[in-house]
């Protein structure tokens, strides 16, 4: 605990032996592909699979008529068809499936399925969808959720008022491992699915519903996951592969290519936000008013929860007496949006942090000073009325990141190293027209599922002697997506049971739900479950040992594979445990949250808050609009760093995704269609784009959390981007109300 233990999956990952979901292979398996709609909005007049079915090597062609159970599914609202039913609502919506001997035969066959569409005019603007007459994309209309937050005086007055309108583009998770998996029909008429996901049990629930099968006939095992970042919370090929396997009686593998992946998972909601901040002359915030419009695209996915976050967390980690926020999620014919790292807080942070800089400028205050004067503290009241009841070192994070050394200024003389300049070796500048800027931003993020969700994890821990050695096996269904949960689970078991040998059982649905690998929650909630299971195992083991020793010793403990009382080693755990097998399963919950009031947004909405602050230094070529991020430094409070190396990895990786959204990453949509579904046209940061980072990690324990820990994964993605945009503004003096910041925003061309 607190050490940078190595990953149990590390060696297979560096030798190429680790089995990802796209590496699965079985004798006799066939390949599935998806036929997707080319139109963002259309009625399906007819589907003719005849020509496809007649092709040699084709085993099956399926449409919605072949879905035996519920034809729609969804994480929060069941509104998304397994295969399109009469209408398609986004470009890329699955319409039909093909299974064939070879993936290319399947692709060719899919092209020969004749679909007759009546094409409609798509609804592509969230505010139009909400407030103007037009197509109702779902029976209940185009509003997914409206979160209203009302706190304090409805008509507050302030000395200084600043307003702004901000836009955030649609970001892609761009995990590298494509959506993929293998479905294997079983003898009982059920199916085994090996798949990359973030939450096996929520998948299982939706698959069972679509297949019309009970949970014991739909068994899921986690295959190796090549990144997730929210993009694997929704189903992708899961039901499709199962349908094809059950129809053909053969194992069916499905692997999206990169282009299909852009259509095969939800994205980060694009946002339009209007903010108004009022403050007194001393810099104390009097009020914040905000309207936040999130484009949810064609289906709900996790839009209700994203709206909840954007609304309840939308003004940043500041103490504000009067707050009025309206956050809306809309249905449109754009690609469906849902979970991505930072989940509603990322979008809002671009707006509230830009507003804080604008306010600082209006007041003649240093931007960090203004933030510190209004910083949330332990005991402060959040806009939801919730009292922050664990450390909230917002001011300290800002002061510490401000105190870090700055990179040296660019030397005005001598020939610069092109690699240090915007444009790099493209040789676009030797320093002329290049200006430097520094910007700050601070983030907070709710950890765990909020608003009354029954958020729990299950852990099974077994202690026994194997080959003469005391061995613990830890079994959870909680998804390892790269973050290092398997390492943390083993660290907790080693710490709690004092054993060296820990086996991680495969992640599957043979054990209860581990909840989602999202919301920065797994070390907290699954970690809490593993700890609780270990405590029960330890209690029973100590009882067995005391019985064997024939005495009662209240201070007995397990350490380093030994049984210890006071300073005395009473014996090896393996000897004293003998042939006893101790096996405990625990369902563990964090303290409950509650739904917020529908009219005021007030309530104990969130179980824990996590905080981070960034400082960015940028060089901007003002003639070409190119940006080089020179430094990106971060201070974050993690409560307790269970694995410091993994914590740093989360901060570095999360910061890089924020950098991407700030200056390069956007799914370009035109008329409801994605224009750049490839890594050629959708750019994510390379090793040349990421600067070295100074990082400081604080450990202020949260008394409510296991080991005092705080979720880590999301905060860095929230504050890094706004800090970079603030630095570009500082360098150029431009308003820059839209991210990603494009070259033309800087050059004005």
């Amino acid at each position: 605990m607190g050490s940078s233990a190595g990953r149990p999956d590390g060696t297979p990952k560096v030798t190429g032996e680790f089995v990802y979901s796209s590496d699965l292979w079985l004798d006799g398996m066939i390949w599935g592909v998806t036929l997707r709609s080319p139109h963002p909005y259309a009625r399906i007049r007819s589907i003719d699979p005849g020509e496809a079915l007649a092709m040699p090597g084709v085993w099956a062609v399926l449409t919605q008529e072949d879905v035996p159970g519920d034809k729609v599914y969804g994480l929060e609202i069941s509104d998304q068809p397994v295969l399109a039913v009469d209408v398609v609502r986004y470009q890329g919506e699955p319409v039909a499936l093909v299974a064939a001997d070879h993936p290319e035969i399947a692709r060719q066959a899919a092209k020969r399925i004749r679909v007759d569409y009546e094409v409609y005019q798509p609804v592509t603007d969230a505010r139009e969808a909400l407030f103007e007459e037009g197509a109702k994309l779902h029976p209940q209309g185009n509003l997914v959720r409206h979160l209203k937050l009302r706190k304090g005086d409805p008509e507050p007055v302030a000395d200084v008022v600043v307003t702004g309108e901000y836009q955030v583009g649609m970001q892609d998770q761009a995990f590298l491992g494509p959506e993929s998996g293998l479905a294997v029909p079983s003898e009982d008429g059920g199916v085994e699915l090996y798949v990359a996901t973030q939450w096996l049990h929520v998948d299982q629930r939706q698959i069972c519903s679509a297949l019309g099968l009970p949970p014991d006939m739909v068994r899921l095992t986690l295959a190796g996951v090549g990144g997730a970042f929210g993009g694997r919370e929704d189903l992708s090929m899961h039901v499709h592969a199962c349908l094809l396997a059950l129809r053909t009686g053969k194992p069916v593998k499905m692997v999206y290519n990169r282009e299909e992946s852009f259509f095969g998972h939800v994205h980060r909601h694009p946002a339009l936000m209007r903010f108004e901040h009022g403050a007194n002359r001393d810099g104390r915030l009097v009020y914040v008013k905000a309207q936040i419009y999130l484009d949810g695209g064609a289906y709900a996915s996790s839009t209700p929860a994203v709206v909840g976050n954007a609304g309840t967390m939308g003004i940043g980690p500041y103490v504000v007496p009067n707050v009025q926020v309206d956050a809306y999620g809309a249905y449109t014919n754009n690609p469906p949006c849902g979970a991505m790292r930072g989940f509603g807080s990322v979008q809002a942070a671009f707006a509230h942090e830009a507003q804080m800089d604008k306010l600082a400028s209006a007041l003649g205050l240093d931007p960090v000073e203004l933030r510190c004067r209004n910083a949330m503290t332990q005991g402060a009241e959040a806009p939801t009325g919730q009292v922050i009841d664990s450390p909230a070192p917002v001011e300290e994070l800002l002061r510490r990141v401000q105190a870090m050394p700055l990179p040296p200024p660019r030397s005005p003389d001598g020939e610069p190293d092109l690699r240090d300049l915007p444009g790099g070796v493209a040789n676009t500048t030797h320093g002329e027209g290049v200006v430097r800027g520094v910007g700050y931003a601070v983030a907070y993020k709710n950890v765990g599922f909020s608003e009354g969700f029954d958020d729990y994890s299950t852990a099974r821990v077994r202690l026994e002697v194997l080959s003469g050695q005391a061995t613990a096996t830890v079994h959870t269904a909680s998804a390892e997506v790269g973050q290092g949960l398997v390492t943390v689970e083993q660290q907790i078991v080693r710490t709690e049971l004092g054993v060296d040998q820990v086996i991680s059982a495969p992640k599957d649905t043979q054990v209860g739900s581990g909840g989602s690998s999202s919301a920065s929650r797994q070390t907290y909630v699954t970690g809490g479950a593993v700890k609780a299971a270990c405590e029960q195992v330890r209690e029973r083991a100590l009882a067995v040992i005391q019985r064997r020793l024939g005495c009662t010793m209240p201070d007995l403990r397990l350490e380093g594979g030994k049984v210890v009382s006071g300073e005395d080693i009473l014996g090896g755990l393996s000897d004293l445990l003998g042939d006893e097998i101790i096996d405990e399963t625990v369902e563990w919950r964090h303290r409950p949250t509650e739904a917020v009031d529908p009219e005021t947004g007030q309530g104990f909405a969130h179980v824990q808050y996590a905080f981070a602050a960034h400082r960015a230094v940028v060089d901007v070529d003002t003639e070409l609009g190119l940006v080089k991020v020179v430094a990106l430094d971060c201070v974050q409070d993690v409560g307790k760093a269970i694995n410091p190396q993994a914590v740093l990895g989360q901060i570095q990786g999360g910061s890089a995704q924020g950098l991407g959204l700030a200056v390069m990453e956007e799914i370009q949509i035109s008329g409801g269609k994605i224009r750049n579904p490839s890594f050629t046209d959708y750019l994510i940061p390379t090793i040349l784009d990421m600067p070295p980072m100074r990082i400081e990690v604080l450990e202020y324990p949260d008394p409510h959390a296991p080991y005092g820990l705080r979720g880590v994964g999301e905060p860095p993605t929230i504050s890094s981007g706004p800090a970079i945009v603030a630095a570009i503004r500082a360098a150029t003096g431009l308003a820059l109300n839209q991210v990603p910041v494009r070259p033309e925003h800087i050059t004005g061309t």
Partner: protein
């Protein structure tokens, strides 16, 4: 068609290969070498990087027929006999592996860099790995890993005992005096089944 080539020093043969297949597909789906990864299949991400006659190539951009008679070395060939190479060990120790999907391609590219340039500067490391996308790590620990592997290879030692060479990353425990550096000793790895 039939493809015959050498993979990691052994003669291999694949039959009934469709002309449109890539070397990556043949490696992964026909010959049992799934270590090279299929992240973009258009030469942008570097996850399928292999040596082709000793020169780096994206296996997704090499038509299967182009591999006929050639020498291919994949991630599976970097640890002959099960002994991890210096870059593989360094990636593990530095924490450069998270989801690991980019790792095989990065390892082949980093291995090539260190073979060509035993003491690369940071700028040279970044240049050499600019064709390999990683979405998890933010690249910082990949930089540390390559520096470590190069230092080890040139006999210059390597990381201090605490497993990091980065002076800018600290863990501060406000309830304890002093500042500790991130990255402690490696614990027992346990078995992963």
């Amino acid at each position: 068609m039939r493809i015959t080539c050498t993979i990691n020093g052994q003669q291999q043969q694949a039959d009934d290969v469709w002309e449109g297949e890539s070397l990556l597909y043949v490696l992964r789906e026909r010959l049992g070498f799934p270590g090279s990864k299929n992240a973009c299949e258009q030469g942008e991400c570097g996850s399928c990087t292999v040596y082709l006659d000793g020169v780096l190539a994206c296996a997704c951009l090499v038509a299967a027929g182009q591999a006929q008679g050639r020498d291919v070395r994949t991630i599976e060939g970097l640890a002959p006999g099960g002994e991890l190479s210096a870059v593989q060990r360094a990636f593990l120790e530095a924490g450069a592996v998270q989801c690991g999907f980019c790792t095989p391609g990065l390892l082949v590219a980093a291995h090539d860099l260190i073979e060509r340039q035993p003491e690369p500067s940071d700028a040279e490391i970044r240049e050499a790995l600019a064709g390999n996308l990683c979405r998890c790590t933010g690249y910082e620990k990949i930089m540390e890993a390559v520096r470590l592997a190069a230092a080890r290879r040139s006999g210059a030692g390597g990381l201090p005992d605490d497993g990091t060479d980065h002076p800018h990353q600290v863990i501060t425990r406000p309830d304890h005096p002093g500042i500790q550096r991130g990255g402690q000793q490696r614990g027992p790895a346990g078995r992963h089944t």
